[in-house]
Symmetry: C2
Subunit: 150 residues, 2 copies
Protein backbone atom coordinates (compact mmCIF):
# COMPACT_ATOMS: atom_id res chain seq x y z
CA UNK A 1 0.00 0.00 0.00
CA UNK A 2 1.22 3.45 -0.94
CA UNK A 3 0.99 6.12 1.81
CA UNK A 4 1.65 9.84 2.00
CA UNK A 5 5.30 9.19 2.75
CA UNK A 6 5.66 7.18 -0.46
CA UNK A 7 4.52 9.99 -2.77
CA UNK A 8 7.06 12.44 -4.17
CA UNK A 9 6.48 15.77 -5.87
CA UNK A 10 7.35 15.27 -9.53
CA UNK A 11 6.16 11.66 -9.69
CA UNK A 12 4.42 11.06 -13.03
CA UNK A 13 2.38 8.17 -14.35
CA UNK A 14 0.70 7.30 -17.63
CA UNK A 15 -2.08 4.79 -17.60
CA UNK A 16 -4.91 3.08 -19.32
CA UNK A 17 -7.11 2.64 -22.32
CA UNK A 18 -10.76 3.63 -22.02
CA UNK A 19 -12.70 2.93 -25.19
CA UNK A 20 -15.45 5.48 -25.69
CA UNK A 21 -18.59 4.20 -27.40
CA UNK A 22 -21.58 6.02 -28.84
CA UNK A 23 -23.91 3.93 -26.70
CA UNK A 24 -22.12 4.89 -23.48
CA UNK A 25 -21.99 8.59 -24.44
CA UNK A 26 -25.76 8.59 -24.99
CA UNK A 27 -26.53 6.46 -21.91
CA UNK A 28 -24.55 8.74 -19.59
CA UNK A 29 -25.99 11.90 -21.11
CA UNK A 30 -29.58 10.68 -21.02
CA UNK A 31 -29.19 10.29 -17.27
CA UNK A 32 -26.99 13.25 -16.37
CA UNK A 33 -26.59 15.75 -19.22
CA UNK A 34 -29.36 15.43 -21.81
CA UNK A 35 -28.35 18.38 -23.97
CA UNK A 36 -29.03 17.73 -27.68
CA UNK A 37 -25.34 17.52 -28.68
CA UNK A 38 -24.80 14.69 -26.15
CA UNK A 39 -27.89 12.51 -26.78
CA UNK A 40 -29.10 13.05 -30.36
CA UNK A 41 -26.82 12.48 -33.35
CA UNK A 42 -28.95 14.53 -35.72
CA UNK A 43 -29.30 17.51 -33.38
CA UNK A 44 -25.58 17.26 -32.62
CA UNK A 45 -24.87 17.66 -36.35
CA UNK A 46 -26.61 21.04 -36.27
CA UNK A 47 -24.86 22.14 -33.05
CA UNK A 48 -21.64 24.09 -32.54
CA UNK A 49 -19.90 20.70 -32.16
CA UNK A 50 -21.11 19.36 -35.52
CA UNK A 51 -21.32 15.81 -34.19
CA UNK A 52 -22.19 13.77 -31.11
CA UNK A 53 -19.74 14.46 -28.27
CA UNK A 54 -19.43 13.16 -24.72
CA UNK A 55 -20.67 15.21 -21.79
CA UNK A 56 -17.72 16.90 -20.12
CA UNK A 57 -18.75 15.25 -16.85
CA UNK A 58 -18.68 11.89 -18.61
CA UNK A 59 -15.15 12.60 -19.81
CA UNK A 60 -14.19 13.45 -16.22
CA UNK A 61 -15.83 10.26 -14.96
CA UNK A 62 -14.00 8.10 -17.52
CA UNK A 63 -10.69 9.64 -16.45
CA UNK A 64 -11.61 9.00 -12.82
CA UNK A 65 -12.07 5.32 -13.67
CA UNK A 66 -8.57 5.28 -15.15
CA UNK A 67 -7.25 6.97 -12.00
CA UNK A 68 -8.85 4.34 -9.76
CA UNK A 69 -7.60 1.45 -11.89
CA UNK A 70 -4.12 2.95 -12.21
CA UNK A 71 -2.45 5.57 -10.02
CA UNK A 72 -4.87 5.18 -7.09
CA UNK A 73 -5.00 1.39 -7.15
CA UNK A 74 -2.65 0.78 -4.24
CA UNK A 75 -2.82 4.24 -2.70
CA UNK A 76 -4.30 4.80 0.75
CA UNK A 77 -6.61 7.46 -0.67
CA UNK A 78 -9.09 9.21 1.61
CA UNK A 79 -10.89 10.98 -1.23
CA UNK A 80 -10.50 14.53 -2.47
CA UNK A 81 -11.76 17.89 -1.31
CA UNK A 82 -12.00 19.34 -4.78
CA UNK A 83 -10.59 20.14 -8.17
CA UNK A 84 -9.30 23.37 -9.69
CA UNK A 85 -8.75 24.38 -13.29
CA UNK A 86 -11.00 21.72 -14.78
CA UNK A 87 -10.85 22.36 -18.52
CA UNK A 88 -12.58 20.63 -21.40
CA UNK A 89 -10.07 21.31 -24.15
CA UNK A 90 -11.35 19.20 -27.00
CA UNK A 91 -14.54 17.21 -27.58
CA UNK A 92 -14.48 13.45 -26.91
CA UNK A 93 -16.11 11.42 -29.66
CA UNK A 94 -17.37 7.87 -30.17
CA UNK A 95 -14.41 5.68 -31.08
CA UNK A 96 -11.87 7.65 -29.06
CA UNK A 97 -9.60 5.81 -26.64
CA UNK A 98 -8.60 7.77 -23.56
CA UNK A 99 -5.54 7.45 -21.35
CA UNK A 100 -4.36 9.62 -18.48
CA UNK A 101 -1.15 11.29 -17.45
CA UNK A 102 -0.74 12.37 -13.82
CA UNK A 103 1.87 14.37 -11.97
CA UNK A 104 2.23 15.05 -8.25
CA UNK A 105 2.70 18.81 -7.93
CA UNK A 106 2.54 19.42 -4.16
CA UNK A 107 2.25 17.59 -0.83
CA UNK A 108 1.69 18.78 2.69
CA UNK A 109 0.93 17.19 6.06
CA UNK A 110 -2.32 18.10 7.77
CA UNK A 111 -1.92 20.45 10.71
CA UNK A 112 -5.15 19.28 12.32
CA UNK A 113 -5.11 15.52 11.64
CA UNK A 114 -1.88 13.54 12.14
CA UNK A 115 -3.37 10.63 10.19
CA UNK A 116 -3.63 12.40 6.86
CA UNK A 117 -1.67 14.30 4.28
CA UNK A 118 -2.66 16.39 1.30
CA UNK A 119 -1.44 15.68 -2.20
CA UNK A 120 -2.10 17.94 -5.20
CA UNK A 121 -1.87 16.31 -8.60
CA UNK A 122 -2.39 17.38 -12.18
CA UNK A 123 -4.34 15.10 -14.49
CA UNK A 124 -4.53 15.16 -18.26
CA UNK A 125 -6.89 12.96 -20.29
CA UNK A 126 -5.45 12.19 -23.71
CA UNK A 127 -6.81 10.62 -26.90
CA UNK A 128 -5.20 7.96 -29.06
CA UNK A 129 -3.88 10.85 -31.21
CA UNK A 130 -2.15 12.52 -28.26
CA UNK A 131 -4.68 15.35 -27.98
CA UNK A 132 -5.33 16.54 -24.41
CA UNK A 133 -9.13 16.58 -24.05
CA UNK A 134 -9.44 17.36 -20.34
CA UNK A 135 -7.20 18.50 -17.50
CA UNK A 136 -7.57 19.34 -13.84
CA UNK A 137 -5.68 19.79 -10.59
CA UNK A 138 -7.02 17.57 -7.79
CA UNK A 139 -6.67 18.18 -4.07
CA UNK A 140 -6.43 14.66 -2.67
CA UNK A 141 -6.20 13.32 0.87
CA UNK A 142 -4.09 10.29 1.70
CA UNK A 143 -3.39 8.32 4.85
CA UNK A 144 0.03 8.56 6.50
CA UNK A 145 2.13 5.51 7.17
CA UNK A 146 3.60 7.19 10.24
CA UNK A 147 0.93 9.45 11.76
CA UNK A 148 2.55 12.52 13.28
CA UNK A 149 5.90 11.91 11.56
CA UNK A 150 7.48 14.40 9.16
CA UNK B 1 -35.13 30.86 -26.07
CA UNK B 2 -32.79 32.67 -23.72
CA UNK B 3 -29.70 34.22 -25.34
CA UNK B 4 -26.60 36.00 -24.07
CA UNK B 5 -28.46 39.32 -24.11
CA UNK B 6 -31.15 37.91 -21.81
CA UNK B 7 -28.72 36.94 -19.01
CA UNK B 8 -27.89 39.46 -16.30
CA UNK B 9 -25.11 39.36 -13.73
CA UNK B 10 -26.77 38.73 -10.37
CA UNK B 11 -29.55 36.51 -11.76
CA UNK B 12 -30.17 33.63 -9.35
CA UNK B 13 -32.25 30.47 -9.63
CA UNK B 14 -33.11 27.58 -7.34
CA UNK B 15 -34.25 24.37 -8.91
CA UNK B 16 -35.05 20.73 -8.57
CA UNK B 17 -35.27 17.62 -6.55
CA UNK B 18 -32.88 14.79 -7.34
CA UNK B 19 -33.49 11.75 -5.15
CA UNK B 20 -30.23 9.92 -4.46
CA UNK B 21 -30.54 6.14 -4.11
CA UNK B 22 -28.09 3.54 -2.87
CA UNK B 23 -28.52 1.58 -6.10
CA UNK B 24 -27.60 4.57 -8.25
CA UNK B 25 -24.61 5.48 -6.07
CA UNK B 26 -23.25 1.95 -6.47
CA UNK B 27 -24.10 1.69 -10.17
CA UNK B 28 -22.32 4.94 -11.01
CA UNK B 29 -19.31 4.10 -8.88
CA UNK B 30 -18.94 0.57 -10.24
CA UNK B 31 -18.55 2.09 -13.69
CA UNK B 32 -16.57 5.25 -12.96
CA UNK B 33 -15.20 5.40 -9.42
CA UNK B 34 -14.99 1.93 -7.83
CA UNK B 35 -13.29 2.98 -4.60
CA UNK B 36 -14.46 0.89 -1.62
CA UNK B 37 -16.34 3.76 0.08
CA UNK B 38 -18.48 4.23 -3.07
CA UNK B 39 -19.33 0.63 -3.97
CA UNK B 40 -19.21 -1.52 -0.82
CA UNK B 41 -21.33 -0.72 2.23
CA UNK B 42 -19.22 -2.83 4.58
CA UNK B 43 -15.89 -1.40 3.42
CA UNK B 44 -17.43 2.08 3.53
CA UNK B 45 -18.22 1.55 7.20
CA UNK B 46 -14.52 1.05 7.89
CA UNK B 47 -13.47 4.03 5.77
CA UNK B 48 -12.90 7.66 6.74
CA UNK B 49 -16.51 8.33 5.63
CA UNK B 50 -18.01 5.68 7.94
CA UNK B 51 -20.77 4.88 5.44
CA UNK B 52 -21.50 4.56 1.74
CA UNK B 53 -21.20 7.93 -0.02
CA UNK B 54 -21.63 9.04 -3.62
CA UNK B 55 -18.63 9.59 -5.87
CA UNK B 56 -17.91 13.29 -6.10
CA UNK B 57 -18.18 13.00 -9.88
CA UNK B 58 -21.60 11.44 -9.44
CA UNK B 59 -22.66 14.38 -7.28
CA UNK B 60 -21.43 16.73 -10.01
CA UNK B 61 -23.33 14.75 -12.65
CA UNK B 62 -26.58 14.84 -10.63
CA UNK B 63 -26.27 18.62 -10.29
CA UNK B 64 -25.61 18.85 -14.04
CA UNK B 65 -28.89 17.03 -14.63
CA UNK B 66 -30.67 19.61 -12.48
CA UNK B 67 -28.96 22.38 -14.45
CA UNK B 68 -30.11 20.94 -17.76
CA UNK B 69 -33.68 20.43 -16.55
CA UNK B 70 -33.81 23.87 -14.92
CA UNK B 71 -31.62 26.91 -15.60
CA UNK B 72 -30.32 25.65 -18.96
CA UNK B 73 -33.65 24.36 -20.27
CA UNK B 74 -34.42 27.27 -22.58
CA UNK B 75 -30.92 28.69 -22.80
CA UNK B 76 -29.02 28.77 -26.09
CA UNK B 77 -26.09 27.03 -24.42
CA UNK B 78 -23.02 26.15 -26.45
CA UNK B 79 -21.38 24.10 -23.70
CA UNK B 80 -18.70 25.10 -21.24
CA UNK B 81 -14.94 25.42 -21.43
CA UNK B 82 -14.39 24.44 -17.83
CA UNK B 83 -15.04 24.75 -14.15
CA UNK B 84 -13.05 26.36 -11.34
CA UNK B 85 -13.20 25.90 -7.59
CA UNK B 86 -15.03 22.58 -7.71
CA UNK B 87 -15.39 21.59 -4.06
CA UNK B 88 -16.93 18.55 -2.43
CA UNK B 89 -17.97 20.03 0.89
CA UNK B 90 -20.01 17.26 2.45
CA UNK B 91 -20.64 13.62 1.52
CA UNK B 92 -23.85 12.76 -0.37
CA UNK B 93 -25.65 9.74 1.04
CA UNK B 94 -28.43 7.37 -0.03
CA UNK B 95 -31.76 9.02 0.74
CA UNK B 96 -30.53 12.58 0.19
CA UNK B 97 -32.50 14.87 -2.11
CA UNK B 98 -30.42 17.43 -4.00
CA UNK B 99 -31.40 20.80 -5.39
CA UNK B 100 -29.26 23.50 -6.98
CA UNK B 101 -28.80 27.23 -6.57
CA UNK B 102 -27.15 29.17 -9.40
CA UNK B 103 -25.97 32.73 -9.78
CA UNK B 104 -24.64 34.55 -12.84
CA UNK B 105 -21.40 36.22 -11.72
CA UNK B 106 -19.91 37.57 -14.95
CA UNK B 107 -20.63 37.91 -18.66
CA UNK B 108 -18.51 38.98 -21.59
CA UNK B 109 -18.82 39.02 -25.36
CA UNK B 110 -16.34 36.98 -27.38
CA UNK B 111 -13.72 39.05 -29.14
CA UNK B 112 -13.10 36.39 -31.77
CA UNK B 113 -16.61 35.06 -32.45
CA UNK B 114 -19.54 37.48 -32.83
CA UNK B 115 -22.00 34.60 -32.41
CA UNK B 116 -21.09 33.76 -28.82
CA UNK B 117 -20.81 35.21 -25.37
CA UNK B 118 -19.25 33.92 -22.19
CA UNK B 119 -21.19 33.58 -18.96
CA UNK B 120 -19.63 32.64 -15.61
CA UNK B 121 -21.97 31.18 -13.03
CA UNK B 122 -21.67 29.81 -9.54
CA UNK B 123 -23.47 26.58 -8.68
CA UNK B 124 -24.23 25.11 -5.28
CA UNK B 125 -25.73 21.66 -4.77
CA UNK B 126 -27.79 21.50 -1.58
CA UNK B 127 -29.40 18.73 0.44
CA UNK B 128 -32.91 18.60 1.88
CA UNK B 129 -31.35 19.90 5.12
CA UNK B 130 -29.87 22.97 3.45
CA UNK B 131 -26.30 21.68 3.55
CA UNK B 132 -24.14 22.69 0.59
CA UNK B 133 -22.51 19.47 -0.63
CA UNK B 134 -20.82 20.72 -3.79
CA UNK B 135 -20.02 24.02 -5.45
CA UNK B 136 -18.27 25.22 -8.57
CA UNK B 137 -17.85 28.15 -10.92
CA UNK B 138 -18.63 27.27 -14.54
CA UNK B 139 -17.35 29.05 -17.63
CA UNK B 140 -20.23 28.67 -20.07
CA UNK B 141 -20.69 29.71 -23.67
CA UNK B 142 -24.00 30.92 -24.98
CA UNK B 143 -25.29 32.05 -28.38
CA UNK B 144 -26.05 35.73 -28.99
CA UNK B 145 -29.41 36.88 -30.16
CA UNK B 146 -27.78 39.77 -32.01
CA UNK B 147 -24.36 38.62 -33.23
CA UNK B 148 -21.91 41.50 -33.16
CA UNK B 149 -24.19 43.72 -31.02
CA UNK B 150 -23.13 45.03 -27.63
Amino acid sequence: MQYYEDIEVGDTQEFGEYHVTKDEIIEFAEQYDPQPFHVDEEAAGDSAFGELVASGWHTAAMCMRLLVDGPLEDRASMGASGVDDLRWKQPVRPGDTLSIRTEIIDKQVSESDPNRGYVDSRLEGITQDGDVVISWIAHGMIARRNPGGD
